[in-house]
């Protein structure tokens, strides 16, 4: 009975995603970039580009409001 229980517990534990933890370290990732902080340079550039695009969109929105106003009058 005890033996059966331990087999059941063991086989159930195989369903847990331990195999993912085991392979964690040998998968190559951009660790260096995160370690020396160069990733922040990339993030800053992406952020600036996005803010620029959004400001552009906001300006278009404002121009459109102006056009709508002059159309209504």
């Amino acid at each position: 009975m005890k033996r059966l229980l331990s087999i059941i517990i063991l086989s159930l534990s195989l369903l847990l995603p331990f195999h993912l933890l085991a392979q964690a370290d040998d998968v190559e990732m951009a660790d260096l970039m995160h370690q020396n902080g160069k990733i922040y340079v990339v993030v800053t550039v992406v952020g600036v580009v996005l803010v620029g695009l959004f400001v552009f969109l906001m300006i278009i929105d404002k121009r459109l409001r102006k056009l709508e106003k002059s159309n209504r009058d």
């Binding site: 995603p17 993912l20 392979q23 964690a24 370290d25 998968v27 190559e28 990732m29 951009a30 990733i39 990339v42 993030v43 992406v46 952020g47 996005l50 803010v51 959004f54 400001v55 969109l57 906001m58 300006i59 278009i60 929105d61 404002k62 459109l64 409001r65 102006k66 056009l67 709508e68 159309n71």
Partner: protein, 236 residues
């Protein structure tokens, strides 16, 4: 009072905040270390959110199409057209980004995958929507036929990219016996960037469509002036 560019509705600010959040944390949060995918798993925040936004735009287009059919108010037809146009744009971006991702993980720019071919077929169906619209001059007729076709196109999209890939073999997660994102690809940390990303991209798409709709409305008010102008020009 003078108008300023910061004079925006709350949901436009929300879209700016969420998209910025996604693009910043998309690069910074720790992701699961998986073979083959490596860092490219971060494309989930950019490529997959685009497709989610695309499907929501097409959904919005269908809602507008139904609203048009039940009210015959042309403003709903303009909405349906512009949501579809934004959706097609997102779809093209989705195909290109997906192709780049596929090249670097599955090994080819285009693999014979049910979801990829389904997405391509969907784009063709929606391009046909635009051609159909362009081929008709009568406003009311165009609106009615385009609305009906839009509903059909949405159904085809659901079949092509939601149903068929799940029935056959597909490389995409969650399809054809592959585990879905929920099992291990999308751990809880990634969800905190992925879902805001979907909402942000969707709101941004609504913003862009809204601008297209407003331009179209201004244009549709103009014809009388234009006709007068051309008369004037020919008479002088």
């Amino acid at each position: 009072m003078k108008d300023s560019i910061f004079n925006l509705s709350w949901w436009k600010w929300l879209s700016i905040a969420l998209v910025l959040y996604t693009f910043i944390w998309g690069f910074l949060i720790p992701v699961p270390r998986l073979p083959i995918l490596h860092e490219s798993i971060r494309n989930l925040f950019f490529h997959v959110t685009i497709w989610f936004a695309m499907m929501i735009m097409m959904g919005a287009s269908v809602v507008s199409a139904i609203q048009y059919l039940s009210s015959t108010n042309l403003k709903f037809d303009i909405r349906a057209e512009m949501y579809t146009a934004t959706g097609i744009f997102l779809g093209i971006i989705g195909l290109i980004t997906g192709s780049i991702w596929a090249k670097n993980t599955w090994g080819a720019w285009w693999v014979n995958d049910a979801k990829l071919n389904g997405a391509a077929a969907t784009m063709l169906v929606y391009l046909a929507y635009l051609i159909l619209r362009g081929s008709m001059d009568d406003e009311v007729k165009r609106a009615r036929i385009a609305s009906v076709y839009g509903i059909f196109a949405f159904t085809m999209m659901l079949v092509f990219i939601m149903v068929l890939p799940r029935l056959t073999v597909s490389l995409h997660p969650g399809n054809g016996g592959n585990p879905g994102f929920s099992t291990y690809d999308l751990d809880n940390r990634m969800r905190t960037v992925f879902y805001p990303g979907v909402i942000g991209q969707t709101l941004l798409s609504f913003w862009i469509s809204e601008i297209l709709i407003r331009i179209k409305k201004i244009k549709s008010q103009e014809p009388e002036q234009k006709q007068n102008q051309t008369k004037y020009e020919t008479s002088s």
